[in-house]
Amino acid sequence: MIERTPVLDFITHALLIGSLVALLIPFWIIFVAASHDFHTVNQVPMPLMPGSHFLENMATAWERGNFGRVMLNSIVVAGGVTIGKIVIAALSAFSIVYFRYKLRMVMFWLIFITLMLPLEVRIVPTYAVAADALRPFKAIFELFGISVGLPEWNLLNSYSGLILPLIATATGTFLYRQFFLTVPDELTEAAKMDGSGPVRFFLEVLMPLSKTNMAALATIMFVWSWNQYLWPLLVVTDQQNFATATMQLQKIVPGPVFGEPPIWNVAMAANLIVLTPPVLVTIFLQRWFVRGLISTEK
């Protein structure tokens, strides 16, 4: 439909531009703060034009935060969580949509209910399990009075400890379920007639078809796991080797130490470093991301 509504057009554009500016101002302030020296940044009011110390501040922040190591940790963890989530979500949704078994809907609702149990709610039991991964089994054995000498399996201070407890995902399962429901039954039947078994159908038909879906999920989940703060803080005590970027940021942001002026320029430079990977991921995947969320283009 073609409409000519100049007033409405003006209002929508003004609203869009206003929102964009509101969105970009914090980034601008971070950038400006990161480009001045210690004295200028602490002036009141703070200058709103960039200074000349940007590279210098970035170098200081990179060194002080040990970001070479820490960024790598974060990329491994966020990447691991993202891949893990996609695999788990696709597999569980495949089972729920394509197989008829008893308790199928019960399983689905059990998964769905975990939406209401984010990590923060179940952090104590999750920590207990991370401290000894076989502990639930031990508890069950004890309940029945069986004594089996299970070894201690400690996930603290390890990548698996940072990744595994985060990969269960109801959102992903739900997103995949909705996608699988839109795949026409005839496609499944055609694959059956062609002689394809379930695993082959999953890998060669469903997975390629769900590319946009996968990108959408990857974007959300990468950003989400990159921003994880509480769990890494708990599970990592060996901060030299396993600290993540968000944890490290906390050390650079000036603390409430009496008599010491806050070093905002370096802190903001560190901020810029830490926010770069999720921003890049979002920019590169956003075209797919939008398609994956809104359309069932086939």
């Binding site: 026409p184 055609a190 007639m193 002689g195 394809s196 082959r200």
Partner: protein, 373 residues
């Protein structure tokens, strides 16, 4: 030997039976069209043969082997779906060759066979395209290629032409017939379009409400319908069916208003006194003069002819007239029907009444069949 045998095949969803005990023998190399209105169970039947639906009771055998418990891939059938069901992410070549890939054939062998099939179907130039870049007819051909490449014993078509436009449908119909003649594979073809059924089939299976009404060649089904359902369903328009009372001593059927239709007593020697359903084709009516009269209601223009809708003895009737007749609504017209064109059915069950099996009586059946799209 029968290639496909159905023995008392039934299908129920929960307590609801949708296919009621179907028996059918399909000879090797035969093209059988299963014809019926939507919801009559024809697709369900086909899918039970394919292995996409479980068989509640009864037996399906392909090439002498009971396949009830076999997976679709083990049955040796290939199927063409109504919506083509092509894999959207694969090129035409990959779509056609997918079953061979699953079967574990080498890439060289696959390419060779894909090229051969593509050449027969005129798809050689499109092999690298994705299904979304093809027209409806081309997609249909890819779907057929995907079925052909497996060189199956049995072809199953589930309303494959319903998504095409009219011109293309006629063209594809011819192609399917040609393909069948060349490959000689046993074929089951499901459709609700009687023209498709008439033109394609060696034999037609007419289904209604989950059961078989009649199995026969197109001319048998058209010329000698076994039930009033088939009589009304086949042909356009279907057989005129009127309630009347038989008077075998006079050789006539009397309609409620007293008009009489003579029938051929040699053909129907054992008709009892009493109510019957009398049927005749709209095309068999000789319009213009005759002992019978009906009231004209309205006309349908067909271009080369007209269908006059009228009321005959208080019951609806359609007459096919080739001439340009102008009638006013409510005006009476006169006509006659050759006694040999009269067909008789049971007034209760709608089954065709017993006929004499004399050659003389059967000559009529061999009369040329006229079907209009």
């Amino acid at each position: 030997m029968a290639e496909i045998t159905l023995r008392d095949v039934r299908k129920s969803y929960a307590k609801n039976e949708v296919v009621h005990g179907v028996n059918l023998d399909v000879a090797s190399g035969e093209l059988i069209v299963i014809l019926g209105p939507s919801g009559c169970g024809k697709s369900t039947l086909l899918r039970m043969v394919a292995g996409l639906e479980s068989i509640t009771s009864g037996e399906v055998a392909i090439a002498g082997r009971v396949v009830n418990r076999l997976e679709p891939r083990e049955r040796g059938c290939a199927m063409v779906f109504q919506n083509y069901a092509l894999y959207p992410h694969m090129s035409v070549a990959k779509n056609i060759g997918y079953s061979l890939k699953i079967a574990g054939l080498s890439k060289a062998e696959r390419t060779e066979r894909v090229n051969k099939v593509a050449a027969t179907l005129g798809l050689t130039d499109f092999l690298e395209r994705k299904p979304a870049q093809l027209s409806g007819g081309q997609r249909q051909r890819v779907a057929m290629g995907r079925a052909m490449i497996r060189e199956p014993k049995v072809f199953l078509y589930d309303e494959p032409l319903s998504n095409l436009d009219a011109t293309l449908r006629v063209a594809m119909r011819v192609e399917i017939r040609k393909l069948h003649q060349r490959l000689g594979a046993t074929t089951l073809f499901v459709t609700h379009d009687q023209v498709e059924a008439m033109t394609l089939a060696d034999r037609i299976v007419v289904m209604n409400k989950g059961g078989i009404e009649q199995v026969g060649t197109p001319s048998e089904v058209y010329g000698r319908p076994e039930t009033t359902y088939v009589a009304n369903f086949i042909g356009s328009p279907g057989l005129n069916l009127l309630k009347g009372a038989a008077h075998p001593d006079e050789g006539v059927i009397k309609l409620p208003d007293g008009q009489q239709l003579a029938y051929d007593r040699n053909q129907w020697p054992e008709i009892g006194h009493g109510p019957v359903v009398v049927g005749f084709r709209a095309e068999a009516v000789k319009f213009g003069s005759g002992p019978l009269s009906a009231r004209f209601d309205f006309a349908e223009e067909l271009g080369i002819a007209k269908l006059l809708h009228g009321s005959f003895g208080g019951q609806g009737m359609i007459v096919h007239v080739a001439t340009h007749e102008d009638l006013q609504s409510g005006q009476p017209f006169f006509f006659s029907v050759d006694p040999r064109d009269i067909q008789l059915f049971d007034a209760d069950g709608g089954r065709r009444l017993e006929e004499a099996r004399t050659p003389a009586a059967r000559t009529k059946i061999a009369a040329p069949i006229q079907v209009r799209a």
